[in-house]
């Protein structure tokens, strides 16, 4: 487990070892997306593609400014546009940058059966480690925000890294740097919450009584937060979950995976199995899930005397 040498991990998928605890001065980071000052220009999307060398296919016009039409293995962030007529009959164009929320309690990491394929650094960034990813798609199921996507080319799961390569050298993520109106800010989570507070106050003074911060407690808070004019109705923003929750199934797995990983022996079999399913559908179907659970149950049985 050489990657633990960095001592930066605080969570690691399908692993039971306790992360090194000696260092205690890692500050938690956060990206704050203030949708009230976002103009939906997609600079964040462009900067993300440019920095991360991502070029999805050229799509079609699908009846919205939303392009590409969905997140994908090469689309780590996406502007979503919602035309909303408020109670006064006035139009609001609610534009939200979608992408990984970098949950404090990441459902993807919980669901991931491959040791070390998903990690959380001490600063809060949740990262996918491609060489350990087996492409099973469980992270997709485990994510309360429907973010990760499996590549058809290499059968690995991808999502925003919060530009961990930039952050690691003291730079802000590419989307943050590009954002023309400062709708995306980056800093310590404490600073971002304080700044959000000021923004919410300003919005309230401009008549948005329900302005507020989106930092859902159900996932332990997130390292990507939103300032919303209508924090009482997050779903207005192209389906941002009103109450994000890690699927109870995934929560249930947690207790299983731990001992499973401990014995290690089941791992190879499991890896083989998950490798097989990546050759099948790219999304986890109910059948896959049931099958996965069955395998897990069997493993559990094996180790139980």
């Amino acid at each position: 487990m050489f990657d633990l040498q960095s001592q930066d991990y605080v969570r690691r998928s399908a692993s039971t070892m306790t992360p090194p605890m000696a260092r205690s001065h890692e500050e938690q980071v956060a990206k704050l997306i203030d949708v009230s000052r976002c103009i939906g220009c997609k600079a964040c999307q462009a900067a993300c593609m440019e920095w991360n060398d991502l070029r999805p296919e050229i799509g079609h016009f699908e009846g919205s400014y939303q392009n590409p039409d969905d997140l994908g293995p090469s689309v780590w962030t996406l502007m979503k546009f919602a035309e909303y007529e408020n109670e006064q009959g006035n139009l609001e164009w609610l534009i939200r940058k979608d992408g990984c929320m970098h949950c404090e309690d990441p459902g993807c990491l919980k669901a991931c059966p491959s040791p070390g394929a998903i990690v959380q650094y001490a600063n809060g960034i949740v990262d996918f480690i491609s060489d350990k990813c087996i492409g099973c798609g469980y992270c997709v199921k485990g994510c309360p925000f429907d973010i990760p996507r499996i590549s058809k080319q290499d059968h690995k799961s991808y999502k925003c890294t919060l530009c961990s390569d930039r952050v690691s050298v003291g730079l802000e993520p590419a989307c943050v740097k590009a954002c023309p109106t400062g709708a995306i800010m980056f800093g310590s989570k404490a600073d971002m919450k304080q700044w959000a507070g000021e923004r919410i106050e300003d919005l309230k003074s401009r008549g948005f009584e329900n302005a507020g911060l989106y930092d859902p407690a159900a996932v332990g808070g997130t390292h990507v937060m939103y300032v919303l004019h209508h924090a009482d109705k997050p779903s207005l923003y192209s389906g941002l979950p009103d109450k994000p929750e890690i699927s109870p199934v995934v929560r249930g797995w947690k207790g299983i995976i731990k001992p499973l990983a401990l014995i290690g022996i089941a791992l190879a079999a499991l890896g083989g199995f998950f490798h097989w399913i990546t050759e099948g559908p790219n999304e986890v179907t109910d059948e896959d899930e049931a099958e996965g659970e069955r395998v897990l149950r069997e493993s559990e049985t094996e180790k139980t005397p």
Partner: protein, 811 residues
């Protein structure tokens, strides 16, 4: 822009009308957001569509395309009626008090002096009453009914809220709320900034749209102050520079005019350029025109321009028509009057009105040269690309040269931004293949032509043989040398008459245009750039971002024309005694002996406030003009005229429906559609994901907006059975576009003169080369008619029909 991009943050109200700043200038728009957050500013958007700018606005009001003058005249009516004007400013700094000649009048949609046959005005009555010394007469009490302010009141009195709503389709309550927000900045310490762009210029009344807002800003005392101004958000990265250097049919560098046929010699030419002050003691800076002109001719022709040959005046071409603009050029091409055309970084097939006419015109040329980094549609107009460019190659006899040019990353040089900053940039890599710089190519053509004329002789080669070309590398002159040439230098020792000593040695680069002479002892290729490259070095390359008081001036970053001045008319930021109107955000202040502050004074630095010199130093009366005298083609006051293609009658004066001074060629008039066949108002515009027709070549941008579409309101879509994302055919009298439909709540029908009026939005960016999906281009639909002053095409208001259809059949 009169002000800087960052200065927008000082505004109390930001009005975006005639533009869509968030969409077209996102990084400049950050200062609007900054104004909102740091200065509590209100953002007001008036636009036919609920735009990206509107999405972050505090208030949005819809308006029918092409009716901005009615709206703004209504605003002026409101301000004057409610007396919500900045009185002291208006009295001291505008021509409100000046008395207009008796012969001037306005009736039934026409100003005095109209000639029905020539569609032009005799403007002699559009002037002030002059006293025996030739000064404009004035009545500071505003009792005289012929005072500009009283004539203005009378002129805008017709634009009541009811009338505005009837013409513009803006609900009265929304119009009045906008008026209220605007009026709040009449307070001396409050400012509104106007951000506009092609949404105002691309109309047959484009220049008057802008004038209307300029008048509103003068009435509110918002010109010259921090957070105020008229801010034209220009398009391309150096379009300001090309305008400054005079790359327009009738222009010379530094806003001097090319002579007209009637200006038969230098003396006659100069007679119209004396700019004698119209009020006592005024600066009237254009009085120095001759110095700028002679210095330019010395720069252009060197020793060959002498007093004896009138500084080579005859070597400049003269104009027989006011403009050889693009609309005229393609009219000439279609009439077989043109042989060749060179398109340098320009894609007229997509960018010009009535694409069919453009293609037919190009097909009649003997030769076409394109110089571009990219494979443009224009360079392939002769090739068949199916319905998006149906061409019969064999029948087109045009020889085409497609020359590969380096791009911004591959060359040094300066660009002038919208705020008049000249910024130097540096080369990062070589261009691809054998691509060459524009400088190398233009030099190559020049040398070959000069050689041919030397060898063979031919039509009047004198200017070509004598134009200066003393560059270290004549094959590819160094941009620094060209910059120095534009800046200018002393050709002889310049003696300061006050001290009778040599102030500037021969050969020295000049520090500013004040050093220019009209006796041939100075040369300057572009007088307004004088000071950009001095003996102290390249001022355009300065990178000190220090910003005193963080007020958005950054005086030592790059260099701004004129004279490194960042806010034009900044004398008007202070009251007549020299105290800032807004003590919290002073620009310049009189300290008892001179003008001091964070910006270079747009004024004599030691001219005392008591001298009564007006702040508008380029104008002969020293004042901001609420009455434009003879400078506009269609009248000294703005008046609402319907677009050339309009769904309704002009309710103010049905007999004068359109701009009476518009120039319309007969074939273009024949190509105008009527509302019975083309009942919907269309407008073209840009999307933030794309830049003109370039970024469809860039993969990321092609991904972000892949395919041509129009925007259509839900009501009309339902009426026409058009589905979200479905195929539609949009047609005008001139052509049709088959593309996708975006059915949106952001465009709503407006009640215009009692009838629901639908607007269709046509983003422009697609074509048949590059990486995005193939498209027609919105200019397939647009009419070939321009603004009466500038001939800017009327892209923002024309008529179309729309129908549900199927995907275009590929050829």
């Amino acid at each position: 822009m009169t002000n800087t991009w960052q200065d927008i943050k000082n505004a109390n109200v930001v009005i975006v009308m005639g533009g869509n700043a968030a969409e077209a200038h996102p990084c400049g728009f950050k200062w609007v957001i900054e104004a909102k957050i740091e200065n509590g500013a209100k953002l007001v958007v008036v636009d036919p569509r609920f735009t990206r700018t509107a999405s972050v606005a505090d208030y949005y009001a819809p308006i029918r395309p092409g009716t901005d003058i009615a709206f703004l005249s209504g605003v002026m009516h409101y301000l004057l009626e409610k007396d919500a004007i900045q009185h002291e400013y208006v009295r001291a700094y505008t021509n409100a008090s000046l008395i207009v000649k008796d012969g001037f009048g306005f009736q039934d949609g026409l100003f005095s002096g109209y000639n029905e046959e020539t569609h032009a005005y005799d403007k002699s009555s559009w002037d002030y009453e002059l006293d025996e010394q030739g000064f404009a007469m004035s009545d500071d009490t505003w009792q005289n009914p012929r005072c500009v302010i009283n004539l203005l009141k009378q002129h805008v009195s017709r634009y009541t809220p009811e009338m505005v709503s009837r013409i513009c389709g803006t609900p009265q309550d929304k119009f009045l709320h906008v008026c209220e927000l605007i009026a709040s900045t009449a307070a001396p310490d409050k400012a509104m900034t106007s951000l506009f762009a092609l949404g105002w210029t691309q109309h047959s009344v484009g220049a008057q749209n802008i004038r209307s807002m300029a008048m509103v800003q003068l009435l509110l005392g918002n010109i010259g102050v921090a957070g105020g101004g008229m801010n034209a958000l220009r398009g391309h990265s150096n379009i300001q520079g090309l305008t400054d250097v005079g790359l327009l049919s009738n222009q010379m560098p530094g806003y001097m005019n090319l002579p007209l046929d009637k200006e038969i010699d230098l003396d006659t030419y100069m007679k119209t350029k004396l700019f004698k002050p119209l009020r006592p003691g005024q600066t009237s800076y254009w009085q120095n025109y001759r110095k700028f002109f002679v210095s330019f001719q010395k720069s252009m022709f060197g020793d060959a321009a002498t007093q004896d040959n009138n500084w080579a005046f005859d070597w400049l071409p003269k104009l027989d028509v006011p403009l050889y603009d693009i609309i005229r050029a393609f009219e000439m091409m279609n009439n077989g009057q043109m042989t060749g055309y060179i398109c340098q970084g320009f894609n007229p097939l997509q960018a010009f009105p009535d694409r069919g006419k453009i293609r037919r015109g190009l097909s009649k040329l003997k030769f076409l040269v394109t110089m571009d980094p990219l494979d443009t549609e224009t360079s392939r107009f002769w090739q068949d690309f199916g319905p998006q460019n149906p061409a019969k190659s064999a029948e087109i006899q045009t020889e085409v040269f497609q020359l590969p040019v380096t791009c911004f990353a591959e060359e040094n040089g300066s660009l002038v931004n919208s705020a008049r900053w000249l910024q130097w940039h540096w080369k990062a890599a070589e261009g691809p293949g054998v691509a060459r710089s524009d400088i190398w190519i233009m030099s190559g053509i020049f040398h070959r032509l000069r050689e041919l004329y030397r060898k063979e002789g031919g039509a009047f080669p004198d200017p070509l043989l004598n134009v200066t070309w003393k560059y270290t590398d004549p094959v590819s002159p160094d941009p620094e040398e060209l910059a120095k040439e534009m800046n200018g230098r002393a050709l002889a020792d310049l003696v300061d008459p006050a001290t009778n000593t040599v102030a500037t040695k021969a050969g020295t680069l000049l520090d500013g245009f004040a050093q220019l002479r009209d006796d041939g002892t100075t040369a300057s290729g572009c007088w307004i750039f004088a000071g950009c490259f001095t003996e102290k070095g390249n001022q355009m390359a300065r990178r000190d971002a220090t910003d005193p008081r963080e007020q958005g001036i950054a005086p030592n970053w790059a260099w701004a024309w004129p004279a490194n001045r960042r806010i034009l008319y900044n004398r008007a930021s202070a009251d007549p005694d020299g105290k800032p109107w807004n003590p919290a955000k002073p620009v310049i202040t009189w300290n008892g002996t001179r003008w001091v502050g964070i910006d270079v004074p747009d004024y004599g630095p030691t001219v005392k406030p008591s001298d009564g010199v007006g702040p508008f130093i380029m104008n002969a009366e020293g004042m901001g003009r609420l009455f434009a005298r003879d400078l506009m083609a269609e009248g000294p006051f703005p008046e609402h005229y319907e677009p050339l293609e309009s769904p309704v009658e002009n309710v103010l004066h049905p007999k004068v429906q359109n701009n009476p001074a518009a120039r319309v060629f007969a074939d273009d008039r024949a190509a105008f559609g009527s509302p019975d066949k083309f009942p919907y108002v269309a407008t073209t515009y840009r999307l933030t994901e794309h830049f003109h027709y370039w970024t469809k070549h860039a993969l990321i941008n092609a991904i972000l907006q892949p395919e041509e579409f129009i925007e259509i309101g839900e009501v009309l879509a339902k009426e026409k059975g058009i589905e979200q994302g479905g195929w539609v055919k949009v047609s005008s009298k001139r052509g049709e576009v088959v593309c996708k439909a975006y059915v949106t709540k952001r465009i709503k029908p407006m009640m215009v003169d009692g009838k629901p009026t639908h607007v269709i939005g046509c983003p422009i960016h697609w074509g048949f080369t590059g990486q995005a999906r193939k498209g027609y281009g919105a200019n397939t639909l647009t009419p070939s008619v321009g603004d009466a002053n500038t001939q800017t095409p009327e892209f923002k208001a024309f008529l179309v029909n729309v129908e549900k259809t199927h995907a275009p059949v590929a050829a």
